[in-house]
Symmetry: C2
Subunit: 215 residues, 2 copies
Protein backbone atom coordinates (compact mmCIF):
# COMPACT_ATOMS: atom_id res chain seq x y z
CA UNK A 1 0.00 0.00 0.00
CA UNK A 2 1.40 3.37 -1.03
CA UNK A 3 2.48 5.51 1.92
CA UNK A 4 1.14 9.06 2.10
CA UNK A 5 3.23 11.72 3.86
CA UNK A 6 0.92 14.08 5.73
CA UNK A 7 1.85 17.43 7.25
CA UNK A 8 -0.72 17.96 10.00
CA UNK A 9 -1.28 21.43 11.41
CA UNK A 10 -2.83 21.83 14.88
CA UNK A 11 -4.29 25.28 15.43
CA UNK A 12 -3.92 25.16 19.19
CA UNK A 13 -0.57 25.70 20.84
CA UNK A 14 0.56 22.90 23.13
CA UNK A 15 3.78 21.42 24.43
CA UNK A 16 1.92 18.32 25.66
CA UNK A 17 3.03 15.66 23.18
CA UNK A 18 -0.09 13.54 23.72
CA UNK A 19 -2.42 16.46 23.00
CA UNK A 20 -0.24 17.60 20.09
CA UNK A 21 -0.35 14.18 18.45
CA UNK A 22 -3.98 13.36 19.27
CA UNK A 23 -5.25 13.81 15.71
CA UNK A 24 -2.30 12.01 14.16
CA UNK A 25 -2.89 9.09 16.56
CA UNK A 26 -6.59 8.99 15.70
CA UNK A 27 -5.74 8.93 11.99
CA UNK A 28 -2.93 6.38 12.08
CA UNK A 29 -5.04 4.02 14.20
CA UNK A 30 -7.57 3.90 11.33
CA UNK A 31 -5.50 4.55 8.20
CA UNK A 32 -2.42 2.37 7.99
CA UNK A 33 -0.85 4.19 5.03
CA UNK A 34 -0.69 7.70 6.51
CA UNK A 35 2.76 8.78 7.73
CA UNK A 36 2.01 11.92 9.75
CA UNK A 37 4.11 14.71 11.17
CA UNK A 38 2.31 17.21 13.39
CA UNK A 39 3.16 20.85 14.11
CA UNK A 40 1.16 23.43 16.05
CA UNK A 41 0.93 27.17 15.60
CA UNK A 42 2.74 29.25 18.24
CA UNK A 43 1.18 31.44 20.93
CA UNK A 44 -2.47 30.37 20.70
CA UNK A 45 -3.08 28.10 23.71
CA UNK A 46 -6.86 28.52 23.33
CA UNK A 47 -6.78 27.77 19.61
CA UNK A 48 -9.24 29.31 17.15
CA UNK A 49 -12.70 30.07 18.47
CA UNK A 50 -13.76 33.37 16.87
CA UNK A 51 -12.96 35.70 13.95
CA UNK A 52 -10.09 37.43 15.75
CA UNK A 53 -8.29 34.24 16.81
CA UNK A 54 -8.77 32.91 13.26
CA UNK A 55 -7.28 36.01 11.67
CA UNK A 56 -4.09 35.95 13.71
CA UNK A 57 -3.68 32.20 13.10
CA UNK A 58 -3.71 32.27 9.28
CA UNK A 59 -0.16 33.59 8.62
CA UNK A 60 1.20 31.06 11.13
CA UNK A 61 -0.66 28.27 9.35
CA UNK A 62 0.68 29.34 5.95
CA UNK A 63 4.25 29.24 7.32
CA UNK A 64 3.84 25.71 8.64
CA UNK A 65 2.17 24.54 5.41
CA UNK A 66 4.98 25.91 3.23
CA UNK A 67 7.49 24.25 5.52
CA UNK A 68 5.75 20.88 5.19
CA UNK A 69 5.66 21.16 1.39
CA UNK A 70 9.36 22.06 1.21
CA UNK A 71 10.15 19.00 3.32
CA UNK A 72 8.36 16.63 0.91
CA UNK A 73 4.84 16.18 2.30
CA UNK A 74 2.28 14.70 -0.14
CA UNK A 75 -0.60 16.59 1.48
CA UNK A 76 -1.18 19.22 4.17
CA UNK A 77 -4.05 18.76 6.61
CA UNK A 78 -5.22 21.81 8.57
CA UNK A 79 -7.00 20.20 11.48
CA UNK A 80 -9.60 22.85 12.32
CA UNK A 81 -13.27 22.89 11.36
CA UNK A 82 -13.17 26.55 10.33
CA UNK A 83 -10.73 25.65 7.51
CA UNK A 84 -8.46 28.56 8.55
CA UNK A 85 -5.89 29.30 5.88
CA UNK A 86 -7.05 26.47 3.62
CA UNK A 87 -7.93 28.73 0.68
CA UNK A 88 -4.74 30.77 1.13
CA UNK A 89 -2.56 27.64 1.29
CA UNK A 90 -4.26 26.17 -1.79
CA UNK A 91 -3.23 29.25 -3.74
CA UNK A 92 0.40 29.01 -2.53
CA UNK A 93 1.09 25.26 -2.47
CA UNK A 94 1.31 22.66 -5.23
CA UNK A 95 0.29 19.72 -3.04
CA UNK A 96 -3.32 19.12 -1.91
CA UNK A 97 -4.49 21.04 1.16
CA UNK A 98 -7.30 19.50 3.20
CA UNK A 99 -9.34 21.34 5.83
CA UNK A 100 -11.21 19.51 8.56
CA UNK A 101 -14.35 21.63 8.14
CA UNK A 102 -14.75 21.17 4.41
CA UNK A 103 -13.85 17.47 4.68
CA UNK A 104 -16.51 16.98 7.36
CA UNK A 105 -19.17 18.89 5.43
CA UNK A 106 -18.37 17.02 2.21
CA UNK A 107 -18.73 13.66 3.92
CA UNK A 108 -21.92 14.76 5.70
CA UNK A 109 -23.59 15.94 2.50
CA UNK A 110 -22.51 12.77 0.69
CA UNK A 111 -23.97 10.45 3.32
CA UNK A 112 -26.87 12.43 4.76
CA UNK A 113 -29.87 14.46 3.72
CA UNK A 114 -30.62 16.62 6.76
CA UNK A 115 -27.44 17.69 8.48
CA UNK A 116 -27.11 19.30 11.89
CA UNK A 117 -23.83 20.96 12.82
CA UNK A 118 -22.46 20.55 16.33
CA UNK A 119 -19.63 22.97 17.11
CA UNK A 120 -18.21 25.33 19.69
CA UNK A 121 -19.24 28.64 18.09
CA UNK A 122 -22.67 30.31 17.92
CA UNK A 123 -22.73 30.04 14.13
CA UNK A 124 -21.63 26.99 12.15
CA UNK A 125 -18.35 27.48 10.24
CA UNK A 126 -19.11 29.33 7.01
CA UNK A 127 -17.22 26.80 4.89
CA UNK A 128 -19.43 24.00 6.19
CA UNK A 129 -22.72 25.80 5.63
CA UNK A 130 -21.59 26.68 2.10
CA UNK A 131 -20.90 23.04 1.25
CA UNK A 132 -24.00 21.63 2.96
CA UNK A 133 -26.28 24.12 1.15
CA UNK A 134 -29.93 23.01 1.36
CA UNK A 135 -28.96 19.98 3.46
CA UNK A 136 -27.96 22.24 6.36
CA UNK A 137 -30.72 22.19 8.99
CA UNK A 138 -29.24 24.15 11.91
CA UNK A 139 -26.26 24.35 14.21
CA UNK A 140 -25.98 24.09 17.94
CA UNK A 141 -23.26 24.69 20.54
CA UNK A 142 -23.15 22.59 23.73
CA UNK A 143 -23.94 24.62 26.87
CA UNK A 144 -20.82 25.99 28.55
CA UNK A 145 -18.50 24.99 25.71
CA UNK A 146 -16.71 28.00 24.24
CA UNK A 147 -13.22 26.78 23.37
CA UNK A 148 -11.78 23.39 22.47
CA UNK A 149 -10.44 23.16 26.05
CA UNK A 150 -13.98 23.13 27.53
CA UNK A 151 -14.58 19.83 25.72
CA UNK A 152 -11.97 18.09 27.87
CA UNK A 153 -14.15 18.59 30.96
CA UNK A 154 -16.72 15.90 31.82
CA UNK A 155 -19.49 18.51 31.63
CA UNK A 156 -18.42 19.52 28.13
CA UNK A 157 -18.70 15.96 26.84
CA UNK A 158 -22.09 15.47 28.53
CA UNK A 159 -23.43 18.70 27.05
CA UNK A 160 -22.15 17.73 23.59
CA UNK A 161 -24.24 14.56 23.85
CA UNK A 162 -27.27 16.58 24.96
CA UNK A 163 -26.85 18.95 22.02
CA UNK A 164 -26.61 16.00 19.62
CA UNK A 165 -29.93 14.74 20.98
CA UNK A 166 -31.50 18.12 20.24
CA UNK A 167 -30.27 17.98 16.63
CA UNK A 168 -31.91 14.57 16.24
CA UNK A 169 -35.15 15.94 17.68
CA UNK A 170 -35.03 18.70 15.07
CA UNK A 171 -35.17 16.03 12.35
CA UNK A 172 -31.49 15.75 11.41
CA UNK A 173 -30.41 12.36 10.05
CA UNK A 174 -26.70 13.22 10.26
CA UNK A 175 -24.54 15.28 12.61
CA UNK A 176 -21.40 16.99 11.34
CA UNK A 177 -18.98 17.80 14.16
CA UNK A 178 -17.62 21.31 13.72
CA UNK A 179 -14.66 21.28 16.10
CA UNK A 180 -11.69 18.95 15.90
CA UNK A 181 -11.48 19.09 19.70
CA UNK A 182 -14.48 16.74 19.44
CA UNK A 183 -12.19 14.35 17.56
CA UNK A 184 -9.60 14.65 20.34
CA UNK A 185 -12.19 13.43 22.88
CA UNK A 186 -13.59 10.88 20.39
CA UNK A 187 -17.14 12.02 21.12
CA UNK A 188 -18.49 10.79 17.76
CA UNK A 189 -18.64 7.20 19.06
CA UNK A 190 -20.53 8.26 22.19
CA UNK A 191 -23.03 10.19 20.11
CA UNK A 192 -23.54 7.38 17.60
CA UNK A 193 -24.09 4.81 20.32
CA UNK A 194 -26.21 6.90 22.69
CA UNK A 195 -28.21 9.06 20.29
CA UNK A 196 -28.39 6.50 17.43
CA UNK A 197 -27.60 8.90 14.64
CA UNK A 198 -24.95 9.06 11.91
CA UNK A 199 -22.08 11.31 13.00
CA UNK A 200 -19.28 12.67 10.86
CA UNK A 201 -16.01 13.27 12.67
CA UNK A 202 -13.94 16.01 10.99
CA UNK A 203 -10.54 14.36 11.47
CA UNK A 204 -11.74 10.96 10.24
CA UNK A 205 -13.49 12.62 7.28
CA UNK A 206 -10.19 14.26 6.33
CA UNK A 207 -8.45 10.90 6.74
CA UNK A 208 -10.89 9.29 4.34
CA UNK A 209 -10.32 11.99 1.72
CA UNK A 210 -6.53 11.85 2.13
CA UNK A 211 -6.66 8.06 1.79
CA UNK A 212 -7.67 8.57 -1.86
CA UNK A 213 -4.05 9.60 -2.51
CA UNK A 214 -2.96 5.95 -2.25
CA UNK A 215 -4.45 5.33 -5.73
Amino acid sequence: MKEIKVGLIRVVTTTNEKVLNAHASLLTSRFKNLDIETKCIPNQPEGIHDAETEKIAVPKIINLAKDFESKGADVVFISCAADPGVEECRRLLNIPVIGAGSACAIMAQSLGNKVGVLGITEEAPEVMVKILKEKFVCSIKPEGVNTTLDLFKEEGRANALKAAGMLKEKGCDTIALACTGMSTINVHEDIRENIKIRVIDPVLAAGVIMSYLQF
Copy 2:
Protein backbone atom coordinates in the same frame (compact mmCIF):
# COMPACT_ATOMS: atom_id res chain seq x y z
CA MET B 1 -13.33 -3.88 10.70
CA LYS B 2 -17.05 -3.19 10.30
CA GLU B 3 -18.51 -4.68 7.12
CA ILE B 4 -20.51 -2.37 4.88
CA LYS B 5 -23.25 -3.88 2.71
CA VAL B 6 -23.34 -2.07 -0.63
CA GLY B 7 -26.05 -2.30 -3.26
CA LEU B 8 -24.29 -1.40 -6.51
CA ILE B 9 -26.34 -0.36 -9.53
CA ARG B 10 -24.84 -0.66 -13.02
CA VAL B 11 -26.61 1.52 -15.57
CA VAL B 12 -25.66 -0.65 -18.51
CA THR B 13 -27.48 -3.90 -19.20
CA THR B 14 -25.25 -6.97 -19.42
CA THR B 15 -25.48 -10.69 -18.86
CA ASN B 16 -21.68 -10.99 -18.91
CA GLU B 17 -20.88 -11.65 -15.24
CA LYS B 18 -17.36 -10.25 -15.53
CA VAL B 19 -18.58 -6.97 -17.01
CA LEU B 20 -21.47 -6.83 -14.55
CA ASN B 21 -19.17 -7.24 -11.55
CA ALA B 22 -16.30 -5.09 -12.86
CA HIS B 23 -16.94 -2.16 -10.49
CA ALA B 24 -17.58 -4.43 -7.50
CA SER B 25 -14.29 -6.22 -8.23
CA LEU B 26 -12.43 -2.93 -8.50
CA LEU B 27 -13.86 -1.80 -5.16
CA THR B 28 -13.38 -5.02 -3.22
CA SER B 29 -9.76 -5.27 -4.40
CA ARG B 30 -9.08 -1.94 -2.66
CA PHE B 31 -11.62 -1.79 0.17
CA LYS B 32 -11.65 -4.94 2.26
CA ASN B 33 -14.75 -4.07 4.27
CA LEU B 34 -17.20 -3.59 1.40
CA ASP B 35 -19.61 -6.49 0.82
CA ILE B 36 -21.10 -5.69 -2.59
CA GLU B 37 -24.07 -7.01 -4.53
CA THR B 38 -24.43 -5.71 -8.11
CA LYS B 39 -27.56 -5.37 -10.23
CA CYS B 40 -27.96 -3.78 -13.64
CA ILE B 41 -30.92 -1.97 -15.16
CA PRO B 42 -32.82 -3.91 -17.84
CA ASN B 43 -32.94 -3.17 -21.58
CA GLN B 44 -30.15 -0.59 -21.90
CA PRO B 45 -27.19 -2.44 -23.46
CA GLU B 46 -25.54 0.89 -24.39
CA GLY B 47 -26.03 2.36 -20.93
CA ILE B 48 -26.59 6.08 -20.35
CA HIS B 49 -24.95 8.44 -22.78
CA ASP B 50 -27.41 11.29 -23.36
CA ALA B 51 -30.48 12.97 -21.86
CA GLU B 52 -32.92 10.46 -23.38
CA THR B 53 -31.09 7.34 -22.20
CA GLU B 54 -30.76 8.96 -18.75
CA LYS B 55 -34.49 9.71 -18.54
CA ILE B 56 -35.61 6.17 -19.27
CA ALA B 57 -33.05 4.75 -16.85
CA VAL B 58 -34.15 6.66 -13.73
CA PRO B 59 -37.32 4.69 -12.83
CA LYS B 60 -35.38 1.45 -13.28
CA ILE B 61 -32.64 2.73 -10.98
CA ILE B 62 -35.18 3.72 -8.31
CA ASN B 63 -36.67 0.21 -8.40
CA LEU B 64 -33.29 -1.42 -7.87
CA ALA B 65 -32.34 1.01 -5.10
CA LYS B 66 -35.59 0.38 -3.19
CA ASP B 67 -35.01 -3.34 -3.57
CA PHE B 68 -31.48 -3.07 -2.14
CA GLU B 69 -32.73 -1.06 0.84
CA SER B 70 -35.51 -3.53 1.58
CA LYS B 71 -32.94 -6.34 1.56
CA GLY B 72 -30.76 -4.65 4.20
CA ALA B 73 -28.10 -2.71 2.27
CA ASP B 74 -26.21 -0.05 4.29
CA VAL B 75 -25.67 2.13 1.24
CA VAL B 76 -26.67 2.27 -2.44
CA PHE B 77 -24.06 3.17 -5.04
CA ILE B 78 -25.27 4.29 -8.47
CA SER B 79 -22.20 3.65 -10.60
CA CYS B 80 -22.63 6.30 -13.30
CA ALA B 81 -20.92 9.68 -13.55
CA ALA B 82 -24.16 11.45 -14.47
CA ASP B 83 -25.57 10.59 -11.01
CA PRO B 84 -28.82 9.37 -12.64
CA GLY B 85 -31.56 8.93 -10.07
CA VAL B 86 -29.31 9.88 -7.15
CA GLU B 87 -31.44 12.85 -6.06
CA GLU B 88 -34.67 10.88 -6.54
CA CYS B 89 -33.34 7.91 -4.53
CA ARG B 90 -32.13 10.21 -1.74
CA ARG B 91 -35.66 11.50 -1.35
CA LEU B 92 -37.11 7.97 -1.21
CA LEU B 93 -34.53 5.97 0.77
CA ASN B 94 -33.37 6.18 4.38
CA ILE B 95 -29.88 4.82 3.71
CA PRO B 96 -27.12 6.89 2.05
CA VAL B 97 -27.14 7.03 -1.76
CA ILE B 98 -23.80 7.68 -3.48
CA GLY B 99 -23.41 8.70 -7.12
CA ALA B 100 -20.16 8.14 -9.02
CA GLY B 101 -20.24 11.61 -10.59
CA SER B 102 -20.69 13.58 -7.38
CA ALA B 103 -18.19 11.35 -5.55
CA CYS B 104 -15.61 11.96 -8.27
CA ALA B 105 -16.20 15.71 -8.35
CA ILE B 106 -16.05 15.95 -4.55
CA MET B 107 -12.73 14.14 -4.43
CA ALA B 108 -11.34 16.21 -7.33
CA GLN B 109 -12.26 19.52 -5.72
CA SER B 110 -10.86 18.36 -2.37
CA LEU B 111 -7.50 17.36 -3.83
CA GLY B 112 -7.07 19.69 -6.81
CA ASN B 113 -7.30 23.33 -7.78
CA LYS B 114 -7.76 23.24 -11.56
CA VAL B 115 -9.86 20.31 -12.62
CA GLY B 116 -10.36 18.97 -16.12
CA VAL B 117 -13.21 16.57 -16.78
CA LEU B 118 -12.65 13.62 -19.10
CA GLY B 119 -15.89 11.91 -20.14
CA ILE B 120 -17.83 10.42 -23.01
CA THR B 121 -20.30 13.27 -23.59
CA GLU B 122 -19.80 16.67 -25.24
CA GLU B 123 -20.60 18.46 -21.99
CA ALA B 124 -19.35 17.41 -18.55
CA PRO B 125 -22.06 15.95 -16.29
CA GLU B 126 -24.02 18.82 -14.74
CA VAL B 127 -23.65 17.41 -11.22
CA MET B 128 -19.86 17.45 -11.54
CA VAL B 129 -19.64 21.01 -12.88
CA LYS B 130 -21.94 22.17 -10.07
CA ILE B 131 -19.68 20.67 -7.40
CA LEU B 132 -16.40 21.76 -8.99
CA LYS B 133 -17.60 25.37 -9.36
CA GLU B 134 -14.68 27.72 -10.01
CA LYS B 135 -12.24 24.80 -9.98
CA PHE B 136 -13.75 23.45 -13.22
CA VAL B 137 -11.47 24.32 -16.14
CA CYS B 138 -13.01 22.48 -19.10
CA SER B 139 -14.18 19.07 -20.27
CA ILE B 140 -13.07 16.93 -23.14
CA LYS B 141 -14.30 13.75 -24.83
CA PRO B 142 -11.82 11.31 -26.43
CA GLU B 143 -12.14 11.17 -30.21
CA GLY B 144 -14.43 8.40 -31.42
CA VAL B 145 -15.73 7.57 -27.92
CA ASN B 146 -19.48 8.04 -27.68
CA THR B 147 -20.66 5.24 -25.39
CA THR B 148 -19.06 3.26 -22.59
CA LEU B 149 -18.61 0.38 -25.06
CA ASP B 150 -16.22 2.44 -27.25
CA LEU B 151 -13.78 2.54 -24.31
CA PHE B 152 -13.26 -1.21 -24.53
CA LYS B 153 -11.60 -0.82 -27.94
CA GLU B 154 -7.83 -0.22 -28.06
CA GLU B 155 -8.42 3.03 -29.96
CA GLY B 156 -10.80 4.28 -27.24
CA ARG B 157 -8.18 3.79 -24.53
CA ALA B 158 -5.45 5.46 -26.62
CA ASN B 159 -7.68 8.44 -27.36
CA ALA B 160 -8.59 8.76 -23.67
CA LEU B 161 -4.87 9.08 -22.92
CA LYS B 162 -4.48 11.69 -25.66
CA ALA B 163 -7.40 13.69 -24.27
CA ALA B 164 -5.87 13.56 -20.78
CA GLY B 165 -2.68 15.04 -22.22
CA MET B 166 -4.69 17.90 -23.69
CA LEU B 167 -6.25 18.65 -20.29
CA LYS B 168 -2.78 18.85 -18.76
CA GLU B 169 -1.68 21.23 -21.53
CA LYS B 170 -4.66 23.44 -20.69
CA GLY B 171 -3.23 23.87 -17.17
CA CYS B 172 -5.29 21.33 -15.23
CA ASP B 173 -3.60 19.87 -12.14
CA THR B 174 -6.23 17.17 -11.69
CA ILE B 175 -8.40 15.10 -14.03
CA ALA B 176 -11.83 13.88 -12.94
CA LEU B 177 -13.00 10.90 -15.00
CA ALA B 178 -16.63 11.37 -15.95
CA CYS B 179 -17.57 7.87 -17.08
CA THR B 180 -17.42 4.74 -14.95
CA GLY B 181 -16.57 2.78 -18.11
CA MET B 182 -13.15 4.37 -17.57
CA SER B 183 -13.05 2.60 -14.22
CA THR B 184 -13.94 -0.68 -15.94
CA ILE B 185 -10.86 -0.35 -18.17
CA ASN B 186 -8.77 1.01 -15.26
CA VAL B 187 -7.52 3.88 -17.41
CA HIS B 188 -6.73 6.13 -14.43
CA GLU B 189 -3.48 4.26 -13.78
CA ASP B 190 -2.40 4.61 -17.44
CA ILE B 191 -3.13 8.33 -17.34
CA ARG B 192 -1.32 8.89 -14.04
CA GLU B 193 1.77 7.03 -15.20
CA ASN B 194 1.93 8.34 -18.76
CA ILE B 195 0.66 11.89 -18.39
CA LYS B 196 1.99 12.46 -14.83
CA ILE B 197 -1.11 14.10 -13.47
CA ARG B 198 -3.46 13.42 -10.54
CA VAL B 199 -6.51 11.48 -11.73
CA ILE B 200 -9.71 10.82 -9.84
CA ASP B 201 -11.47 7.58 -10.72
CA PRO B 202 -15.23 7.81 -10.09
CA VAL B 203 -15.67 4.27 -8.73
CA LEU B 204 -12.68 4.53 -6.39
CA ALA B 205 -13.85 7.98 -5.24
CA ALA B 206 -17.22 6.46 -4.33
CA GLY B 207 -15.41 3.62 -2.55
CA VAL B 208 -13.46 6.11 -0.45
CA ILE B 209 -16.63 7.95 0.55
CA MET B 210 -18.49 4.71 1.34
CA SER B 211 -15.52 3.57 3.43
CA TYR B 212 -16.41 6.33 5.93
CA LEU B 213 -19.37 4.18 6.98
CA GLN B 214 -17.02 1.83 8.84
CA PHE B 215 -16.70 4.45 11.60
